[in-house]
Structures are given as structure tokens and as C-alpha cells.
């Protein structure tokens, strides 16, 4: 099977930051029928972890990796090998070989095991989905509190948002953390759902943010705060469009919210 090796090697050696790197000794694997060899030998290699790919180089300064281990569907475990500080990368496949690696010390071994066991794409995707959900929940809480303040304290989930500035406007005090105080200082953007006006009773769940729509919109827009330009120098530039669209979208919602409760304050809303 062909692999775009040149591009893969380029990815290994280019400037993009590594998730972990260091020297490890790699056990040399022999064929099955030599399994009863007397000595095990190890080769010291420079290992670089980027995403779900573990590269190894002959030397730290080598311009090309000697090898690559794709880390999907693997487990990382401590090894009962003769060597101290040994751990193994194993795959589900019954006949698959394990990669036995030896670190320089306890701390190095633990750091590698931790880094490698969280390296898979699947794991990353899981965490992202979880955060997406959390952001939606935070938006919903915000929307619910805005629409019907008396309902805010009903759910435990919403208690983590506290905003002292809102309290005079409501009958029951709600706790909203880190709310408008940050936003009113300007420049900062927090998430907010587009809330079209519904009355009293049921607040509809806010529509999903536009991240799922096509990113082929206009290419303008400032970088979202907190994202340094270095992070976005990937040629896959439409990602910046997604973020800046989100940025603007949230920013508009905040502006609307601020205007509304400023007006309410003026009117002496109870």
C-alpha cells in the first residue's frame, strides 16, 4: 500500500509543535522463528509525537524519520521486560507486534505513557465533542437566564454562571459567574446563543452555532481572541474563516444582550 511518505516525513520535521519528544530505546524485533534468541538489543532513537503519529529518528538532528508508528487503536502499557522503565505500544490485532520502548527514568516513562495513551484521533474527537456540548449548555443557560430570569435557579447546571450585575434586575437572585463583567470590558467575546424572542414559558433551545455550515464564506475577519497567528499559519486557511465567523456571531449576540439590559436598567425594570 502506498503512503504519501514525502508529505508525512515533511510533517514530521516541519515547524509544527510536537506533543512530546525525547530519546527512547527501542527494542529490536526479530522474526518469530528467531524468538528464542538470547539477547534482546535496543536502539536509541529520537522520538517525536505529533498528533496520532509517533515518529522516530536516528539522531535528534536527522532530517528524515527512520520510522513511524500510527497510533490508532493501540494500548500503551507498562512492560514486565528485563529493562527498567519499559513500556509497550500494543495493537488490537492478534498477530501484531508490540513496540517495546525504554525511557531514561521513571518520570520520562510516565510522561511518555501519558502522552501516548491520549494520542489517538478518536480520543481527541471525544474531548472536542464533549466541549461542544458544554459550550452549547453554557449558551442555553445564558439564554434561559436572559429570557426568564425567574427560571434561572431551577437547574443546578446553570449555577456555575454568576453575574452580580444582573441581580438587581431579577426577583430571585441567580448566580452567574464571569458573565457580563468580562464582556463589558470589550474585546473579549464569550459564547452566546442567538435567542429570538419567545415569551415566558418554554425557551426553545438555541440554534446550533454556524460552525457546521460551509466555510466558503468571506475570508475577512479578525482572528478570534486567544488564537495566536502562529497557530493559524496552516495552509488550510478556511479554518480561520470558521473561527472568525463564530467570533463575530457571538460578538453580535453579546452586543444585543448588553443593549437590552442596559435599556431595562434605564426603564427601572424590577
Amino acid at each position: 500500500m502506498k503512503l504519501n511518505e514525502r508529505s508525512v516525513a515533511h510533517y514530521a520535521t516541519c515547524d509544527s509543535p510536537a506533543d512530546h519528544a525525547g530519546f527512547l530505546r527501542k527494542r529490536v524485533e526479530r522474526h518469530h522463528h528467531h524468538a528464542h534468541h538470547h539477547g534482546t538489543s535496543y536502539q536509541r532513537r529520537w522520538f517525536v509525537l505529533k498528533g496520532n503519529l509517533l515518529f522516530y529518528f536516528e539522531e535528534r538532528e536527522s532530517r528524515e524519520p527512520v520510522g513511524l508508528v500510527v497510533l490508532e487503536g493501540c494500548t500503551v502499557e507498562l512492560c514486565e521486560a528485563a529493562e527498567e522503565f519499559a513500556f509497550a505500544i500494543r495493537f488490537d490485532d492478534a498477530g501484531a507486534r508490540a513496540y517495546v520502548l525504554v525511557a531514561d527514568g521513571q518520570a520520562a516513562m510516565e510522561a511518555w505513557v501519558k502522552a501516548l495513551s491520549r494520542a489517538s484521533f478518536d480520543y481527541m474527537r471525544l474531548v472536542v465533542r464533549e466541549l461542544e456540548k458544554q459550550l452549547e449548555e453554557a449558551c442555553k443557560s445564558l439564554a434561559a437566564c436572559r429570557k426568564s430570569p425567574q427560571r434561572c435557579s431551577s437547574s443546578g447546571r446553570k449555577r456555575h454562571l454568576s453575574n452580580p450585575a444582573l441581580q438587581p434586575l431579577q426577583e430571585k437572585p441567580t448566580t452567574l459567574e464571569n458573565g457580563y463583567s468580562t464582556w463589558s470590558s470589550g474585546g473579549c467575546v464569550a459564547g452566546g446563543a442567538t435567542c429570538t424572542d419567545h415569551d415566558g414559558g418554554q425557551t426553545k433551545p438555541p440554534p446550533l452555532p454556524p460552525r457546521r455550515r460551509s466555510a466558503t464564506g468571506s475570508a475577512t475577519g479578525s482572528l478570534a481572541p486567544g488564537l495566536s497567528p502562529a497557530m493559524l499559519e496552516s495552509p488550510v486557511s478556511p479554518e480561520t474563516i470558521c473561527f472568525s465567523k463564530l467570533h463575530n456571531w457571538y460578538g453580535q449576540e453579546i452586543a444585543v444582550l448588553r443593549r437590552e439590559w442596559q435599556e431595562r436598567q434605564k426603564r427601572g425594570h424590577p
Binding site: M1, K2, L3, N4, S7, V8, H10, Y11, C14, P17, D19, H20, K50, G51, N52, E64, P65, V66, G67, L68, V69, V70, E72, G73, C74, F91, D93, A96, A115, R118, A119, D122, M124, V127, V128, L131, E132, Q134, L135, A138, L142, H160, E177, G179, T182, C188, V189, A190, S214, A215, T216, A224, P225, L227, S228, A230, M231, S234, V236, L246
Partner: protein
């Protein structure tokens, strides 16, 4: 460069995020479009002859550029060799747009940027780092900005 081909082949058999029969050409002189089964699994794009179980090839989708070309056509090229293009001719424009979108989001690096973005947004909204409860706040891969070794 050695790599664990066996595991990559196993990955190619996993359920795909997206799969379709698409006409495809590789960046080789005289290459023509040929019908292939194209399968997106994590950050790899595998392509098979339509009647074979094992892929002919795999493309790692990091540091690549997905370009919408003419009608129904998109291409994949890599940052260090932008003129070498893998071309894909879809059945419909709609299918083409779907693939372009999916492939743009397919890289690990994209996922990482999304995570950092959501983490940041949640932190600003709630004052809490959402990764703390999982005990992964300090992991290098979740940090904003460069974390070079």
C-alpha cells in the same frame, strides 16, 4: 521510512467517516481519472480499487490543502509540493462540496484548534477550565500557542 502498515490496513477496514466511489487521479505524469472507493478514516484518506478489500494507497491529511476546482472536482495537495495534486471528480456538485467540507476538518491539527477554541470560549463564559475535571489541563496538546520541545 518504515511504518506499521499492518495497523494502517486495519484502520482502512474501520467504519469510515465518509466513503464513496469517486473518480480519482494521482499526481503522476500521464495519470488519468479512475474509479476508486475513497474512504475517510480519522486523518487518513484511503483509496481502493472498487473490487478489492485492501487499499492501493493512503493519504495522511495533515498540512494539506483541499481546493475546489472546476465543477464536481476537488483536489488535495500538500504544503511542501503544492503543484502535485490528487484530483477527485464527484458525481454531483453537492457531493463535491460535502467532501471538501469533510476533508478540511479531517486533520488532527484542525481538531486540536477546535478543542483549544472551545476550551477558551467555555473558560470565558463560565470562568472554569472545562478540561480540569478530566485532569488533562496541563497536557501539551491542549495548550494555546507553541509548545515546542
Amino acid at each position: 521510512m518504515r511504518y506499521n502498515e499492518r495497523e494502517l490496513l486495519s484502520l482502512a477496514r474501520q467504519p469510515a467517516e465518509k466513503a464513496a466511489e469517486i473518480r480519482m487521479s494521482v499526481p503522476k505524469k500521464g495519470s488519468v481519472l479512475k474509479k476508486r472507493l475513497v474512504k475517510l478514516v480519522v486523518n487518513f484518506l484511503f483509496y481502493f480499487r472498487t473490487d478489492e478489500a485492501e487499499p492501493i494507497g493512503a493519504l495522511l491529511l495533515e498540512h494539506c490543502k483541499i481546493t475546489k476546482e472546476e465543477e464536481n472536482v476537488f483536489s488535495i495537495s500538500f504544503i511542501e509540493e503544492p503543484e502535485r495534486k490528487y484530483c477527485f471528480e464527484c458525481a454531483t456538485e453537492e457531493q463535491c462540496q460535502e467532501w471538501v467540507e469533510a476533508l478540511k476538518r479531517a486533520s488532527y491539527e484542525f481538531l486540536r484548534r477546535s478543542l483549544i477554541f472551545y476550551r477558551n470560549e467555555i473558560q470565558k463564559m463560565t470562568g472554569k477550565d472545562p478540561l480540569e475535571q478530566y485532569g488533562i489541563s496541563e497536557e501539551a496538546r491542549f495548550q494555546l500557542g507553541a509548545h515546542r520541545q
